[in-house]
Assembly symmetry: C2
Homo-oligomer: 465 residues x 2
């Protein structure tokens, strides 16, 4: 970390100026501040000094210019569902809440895209799109805002087929640290003109600017969907089935793994009776004939590798129940030890190393005496571990932290990354040098310095300058 | 353009130092220098002062450090097939030829990726991969190097299904202006840790560093391929068929348009007898049953929109002949007026505007009295125009330049881009401000300044500092 400290005078001057301009839309109440420093994280709360509620891009520009004039830190806020302390106000400052900027600006069905404000949440977006026959496929566990999802390069269960936010954001409008509005790209599907600012801002976690508009690629709602569950004797066999499926070109839409511990948690929480062995949950999108063919072929692959039977159906009701249980994995884990919190973490490795990485992690969990279900987007080599801990037990917290450190080291040793989709925040900054190497981190710092020379945009995240 | 001028003393000192280190692998012969400043472009040749042939990343580091010590411009060179003067040595300097760095470093069939050196060409890569059952789908017209394809964010006929270089480069090693080796990402399929350096370097046209290694995503060679030709009464009907096809979720692998002029040129050059009306060329990838279903459904859509009949087959021979003709479109156009050159240019618009953009462009071609076939990756809204001109006729050259200016303006007015896949080079820099706006261009300049403060990496391209 840099030697930077909190600048009381600067913050106080900025908050006063914001109050003069925005009146009651600036809150300094303790509860509001705490809520805006709070996320689904194990990291202790660091509240901002004030929260300002923006209603338009023009207002965001005004807020940034006021903060820039005083060199006051800015932390953009959407839904507060991030997992690695992205919203912690490490040096205090102002939380800029864009959740009220939640409109759909334009839908272009012929181009399969939609233009939205950053505060719209993913479920609301899809509800409003329903009549168009199109949907937005990226589905992190939480009902996050699209601005937050872009800022953290989110993905989810559909990523194996539809990509992540880096693949589905076509263009953005971003207010940078100087209060300029950068338009990152045109609405055309591709371009070869100039540096790819869109993907530079995707995943930059608010450290380079505040997203004020997004153009997103949509997909057609599939004519038919089939899905089901396939049990495996062990994680290695399940991972082999995933590799064979993807290699054979089956365009699987979702392929998720739940280990025994997670299946138990889901059975208890979601009142299911799934077999308590490693499971793959699958979904196929296409025509009626297409999904039938894909499902049958997957069943054959699974059987060849000692798994199955793969029971699948195209009935919506059963499928919804299953995927709701999958999305509730986080809560199901927590419910296994009431009063406990979950230290939700994720890593991602090349898929060829996935079985080995999960197996070693399970041995580590056992040796550590932790309860830590595993659930993963196995088609991407990305898995989550959800160790439970008692927030009042300092020794257990240390044990979990040490476990997460070993998990990240293990992933990095297998050509993997410290996070497939949760991001860096304040929680994983310490692993960046080991992952990227000094020259790459220096390049990131140089970019941060170039675009935010005062270091006001979400300071203390990703890189310090 | 900046006020920068060619620095004779710096260049001379760098070339002397390179000769001392690399001996005969530094060439200053006029023919070698001219060949390295030459590309498939209408832009007059600006040769470098010397060409140095690198054999390894370590050598590239040495070369860059020598040039950096003298502030001597560096222009990376692969195959010399770019179209917009990317390799012109605007301020002289050294061409760094990496074409001998053409090995496959590692293939990971389970992860569907390959690690290559930058000088390998796309056809050689696929020939060497054939036994693995995998292929690399990006296919620009030329047999370019993978390093050059990444540097220019290339795409091609498969992009509608498989994406462009931005989607298929997983990671790179890049020697930056300071002679450091930046590793842009891990080999895992996705990551949420830090700025997306991979995609920042993809499309940066050598202005931020020299690519020395690439990890590329591969796809399984499809079990079955079907393809064929579908005539349409006009371009608008063809474009409507494309939109309907994509909206309905048919995962078309290739969907290309040829206008009447291009069909005539291809018939003459490739000895075919295609109907001389706007044509869509299509290809579907999948299982035997899958491609039959896709082909049949497309045929129905085409018939509904006044096109057809769509004749398709899964026989490889006919298909190869057709796609070879498509890839030879550039040469076919040239053959229509012997002694002429082609001013190959491309734009990309949202697909909903494609028919209108092509129709207006055709009226412009007619009014201008030009011969300019049109061919396009219509599934991406991207099309090429290939005006022919007599290189000795200054008035005709001016006429073509004015036409290209209007074409770009037209695309920009339709939310499009000045280039879908050819890139900026020196040819299209003048359109960048109109396309991206001043704040975005300022951000690009700030990034360039941050990563190449001396301005030695391919100066005079994309942004000036």
């Amino acid at each position: 970390m840099s030697g930077r400290v909190r600048d009381e005078a600067a913050i106080s001057a900025a908050v006063t100026a914001l109050q003069a301009r925005f009146g009651e839309r600036v809150s300094t109440s303790a509860s509001m501040r705490e809520q805006h420093g709070h996320t689904l994280t194990w990291i202790p709360n660091q509240p901002p000094d004030a929260v300002v509620f923006a209603r338009s891009e023009a207002e965001v520009v005004e807020i940034v210019r006021i903060c820039a004039a005083h060199r006051c830190p800015i932390v953009p806020f959407g839904a507060g569902t991030s997992l690695e302390g992205h919203l912690n106000a490490a040096y205090g400052g102002v939380s800029v809440d864009v959740s009220a900027m939640d409109r759909i600006v334009a839908v272009h069905p012929e181009d399969l895209d939609v233009v939205v404000e950053p505060g719209i949440r993913r479920k609301a977006l899809n509800e409003q799109l329903r009549d168009t026959g199109l949907f937005f496929p990226i589905d992190p566990g939480a009902d996050a805002t699209l601005g937050g999802m872009a800022a953290t390069r989110a993905s989810g269960t559909n990523a194996v087929r539809y990509g992540t936010m880096k693949d589905t954001v076509i263009a953005m409008r971003v207010v940078t640290a100087s209060g300029e509005v950068v338009v990152t790209s045109r609405r055309a599907k591709k371009s070869a003109t100039g540096y790819d600012l869109t993907r530079l801002f995707v995943g930059s976690e608010g450290t380079l600017g505040i997203i004020t508009e997004l153009t997103l690629r949509l997909s057609g709602i599939p004519e038919a969907i089939s899905g089901g569950i396939c049990p495996f004797p062990n994680v290695a066999a399940a991972a082999d089935a995933v590799i064979a499926t993807i290699q054979s070109g089956i365009p699987v839409a979702r392929i998720e793994i739940l280990d025994e511990a997670q299946v138990k948690a889901c059975n208890a929480y979601s009142k299911l009776s799934l077999p308590e062995t490693p499971l793959l949950l699958l979904e196929f999108h296409g025509t009626e004939a297409g999904v039938a063919e894909q499902s049958t072929r997957f069943g054959e692959i699974a059987a060849d590798l000692g798994g199955g039977p793969f029971t699948w159906a195209t009935v919506a009701e059963e499928r919804t129940k299953l995927w709701t249980a999958r999305h509730d994995a986080y809560w199901a884990g927590m419910a296994m030890r009431p009063g406990c919190q979950t230290f939700s973490t994720d890593v991602c490795v090349p898929i060829s190393r996935l079985a080995e990485c999960i197996a070693e992690t399970k041995r580590d969990i056992e040796a550590s005496g932790l309860f830590a279900p595993i659930v993963g987007h196995v088609g991407d080599g990305n898995f989550h571990v959800l160790p439970l801990f008692d927030p009042n037990d300092a020794a257990e917290i240390d044990k979990v932290k040490a476990f997460v450190g070993r998990l990240v080291e293990r992933a990095l040793a297998m050509e993997g990354t410290a996070s497939g989709e949760h991001g860096v925040g304040t929680g994983k900054m310490k692993y960046l040098e080991a992952e990227h190497g000094r020259p790459a981190l220096d390049a990131m710092s140089a970019i941060k310095q170039a675009l935010d020379p005062q270091g006001i945009m979400n300071p203390g995240k990703i890189v310090t300058i």
